[in-house]
């Protein structure tokens, strides 16, 4: 356990050793800040039933930077170790393969949480300035951020697999970006293709991140997406472990 936390500590810190963390944080918060502004401006158009939380988490401007950040967070995790050769001292230290795989994964998840933490203040500032509630109940916050975490966990696990596949960061970024984009837009298929068959529509909404968010940001916490994202994450981590061992054994 101590070994795991040592590894995890380095993974989290490694984001801040390079300027990447600050660049990502800056642009991410800039774009998300704009998405928040846009969300609030919707409310200005006239009387509406949706809350600020709902408006924020369901705009196009929100989803756009959202999909972009995962390749940036995960592209270095393994690729950099392969490229620099540090994979060798890492794996010849007395650590198990699972410890490394999980530490790298949760390191990325931790950075992802750090990335989102400042956005809490948006709602606090909104309430302070407008003296209006940002959501009707706390469940809306809880639901929105829970789903953010779940989706993030899944997409980060995809990114980790992509990074473990190659020793080139750009390659890793392209692979994970493509895979994540496919996953994300698969959820919009029934909407784009105007599917009317109810079975297909239900099937599609089972994996549709956008539809999940519409529910969760109203505080409607559904267990099906939770199961979906968690099981996909576990699957991806298993694949990650296999790829890791393959890289190690083939080297």
């Amino acid at each position: 356990m101590k070994t795991f936390f040592t590894l995890l500590g380095r993974e989290v810190k490694s984001y801040f050793y390079s300027p990447i963390a600050y660049v990502v944080l800056f642009y991410f918060l800039l774009l998300i800040g704009h998405a928040f502004y846009y969300g609030v401006s919707i409310l200005n158009r006239g009387p509406t039933e949706i809350t600020v939380v709902e408006a924020f988490f369901n705009t196009v401007f929100f989803w756009f930077p959202f999909v972009l950040i995962f390749p940036l967070i995960t592209m270095r995790t393994y690729s950099e170790e392969f490229r620099m050769g540090t994979f060798e001292p890492l794996t010849t230290a007395p650590v198990t393969d699972w410890q490394v795989v999980l530490a790298k994964y949760f390191g990325a998840v931790t950075f992802y949480i750090i990335l989102w933490a400042p956005t809490f203040s948006y709602f606090a500032i909104f309430q302070l300035v407008t003296r209006h509630l940002a959501a009707y109940a706390n469940g809306a916050y809880f639901g929105s951020y829970l789903l953010l975490l779940l989706v993030g966990m899944f997409y980060i696990s995809i990114g980790c697999v992509a990074s473990a596949l190659t020793s080139d960061q750009i390659n890793a970024a392209v692979i994970s970006f493509s895979a994540i984009t496919v996953c994300f837009f698969a959820g919009l298929l029934s909407f784009v293709m105007m599917v009317t068959d109810p079975t297909l529509k239900n099937l599609n909404s089972y994996i549709s991140t956008v539809e999940h968010m519409a529910d969760f940001s109203r505080g409607l916490i559904d267990s099906r997406p939770i199961v979906w994202y968690l099981s996909m994450t576990v699957l991806m981590l298993m694949i990650n472990f296999q790829v890791f061992q393959y890289r190690k054994w083939k080297s």
């Binding site: 101590k2 070994t3 040592t6 590894l7 500590g9 380095r10 490694s14 050793y17 390079s18 620099m84 050769g85 540090t86 994979f87 060798e88 001292p89 794996t91 010849t92 230290a93 007395p94 650590v95 198990t96 190690k248 054994w249 080297s251």
Partner: protein
């Protein structure tokens, strides 16, 4: 499956040996890096692992450190199977990989602290161990420097400090002096010599004086096979390149070569001409010194000797003989 593997579990390794390797083979797609290696390194020995580039030194070391599995055969570190009890084996090894890969964006002391903790140094001893190895590897001034800004020699010392930080019984160093300037080589060598006191060291290199200075035993490996394993002295003594004698003289009479060949201790004689001077190269047997006999032969036959030189075999001769493509 290799038939040798079936009784792997039954073999009881002797604890006295720090490294024990049995029938170790590693095949990569298309070629065999090492073939049926067998060797043992006792506790406290400093062994030089010698061989030309691509001989299989790094592959052997990577198998011993648990970085890659062997195709067949077994290896033990301090009695622990490197495949079956990998973690226990790895805990006892301080490994400096080839080219010293390090995290370039960390600070020296930060990196060593991380590595020490990773290798299981207790929390309360972390500070002490890290400052000990920083002292030992002369990194005090660079303690707070970012590793990426260090010179190659300094990085090498950081790598060594990393290998030492958990106070391992066994040090495995893969070409620790490659790419350094002569001063740096000297300081790294000095350092390794000091470290050797209490520890077992396996050090790979193709720089020969290094071996003579540091190692109590040499294992010569070539094309994945062990060609020799002995002390540097014994290698020199026993090897056929034990030495030679060069005689330049103006001779009269044809049978000079035969009479030289007839002398005791002379294995072979070659003759070349330089104008009217004959140049003989005498290959000698181990420990033979027929200089006197050659001299008196020359006097008896009225050869006019221009020069006679005795050349002792160096480790380099032995190395070349052992690892020459057609040896």
């Amino acid at each position: 499956m290799d038939p040798r593997d079936t009784d792997r579990a039954l073999k009881v390794p002797t604890v006295a040996s720090m490294i024990k390797v049995e029938n170790l083979t590693k095949r990569f797609a298309g070629f065999t890096a090492i073939k049926n290696l067998n060797f043992e390194v006792a506790k406290g020995e400093v062994v030089g692992f010698l061989g030309p580039n691509g001989a299989g030194k790094t592959t052997t070391m990577r198998i011993l450190t648990g970085y890659m599995p062997a195709t067949s055969g077994s290896a033990w570190i301090a009695g622990f199977d490197v495949f079956g009890q990998s973690l226990e084996a790895r805990k006892r090894i301080g490994y400096l990989p080839e080219n010293t890969p390090l995290y370039h964006d960390m600070r020296v002391n930060e990196y060593l602290r991380y590595r020490a903790s990773l290798k299981g140094v207790e929390h309360r001893r972390l500070k002490e161990r890290v400052s000990d190895v920083i002292e030992l590897c002369a990194l005090k001034e660079k303690e707070r420097a970012i590793i990426g800004t260090l010179s190659k020699g300094q990085r090498q010392r950081v790598g060594l400090a990393d290998a030492l930080v958990h106070d391992p019984d066994l040090l495995i160093l893969d070409e620790p002096t490659i790419g350094l300037d002569p001063n740096q080589i000297r300081s790294v060598r000095e350092l390794i010599k000091n470290l050797a006191n209490k520890r077992t060291v396996l050090i790979s290199t193709h720089i020969l004086p290094e071996v003579e200075i540091m190692c109590s035993r040499v294992i010569v490996i070539h094309q994945g096979e062990i060609r020799a394993s002995d002390t540097a002295e014994n290698l020199l003594k026993n090897h056929r390149a034990a030495g030679n004698l060069r005689l330049e003289a103006k001779i009269n009479g044809a049978a000079a070569r035969d009479s030289l060949l007839a002398l005791p201790g002379v294995k072979d004689v070659t003759e070349e001409m330089d104008g009217d001077i004959s140049i003989f190269n005498l290959r000698l047997e181990a420990n033979a010194d027929p200089a006197e006999e050659v001299m008196s032969l020359a006097v008896r036959n009225h050869w006019r000797v221009r020069e006679m030189t005795r050349r002792r075999a160096t480790l380099e001769d032995v190395f070349v003989e052992l690892t020459h493509a057609d040896a």
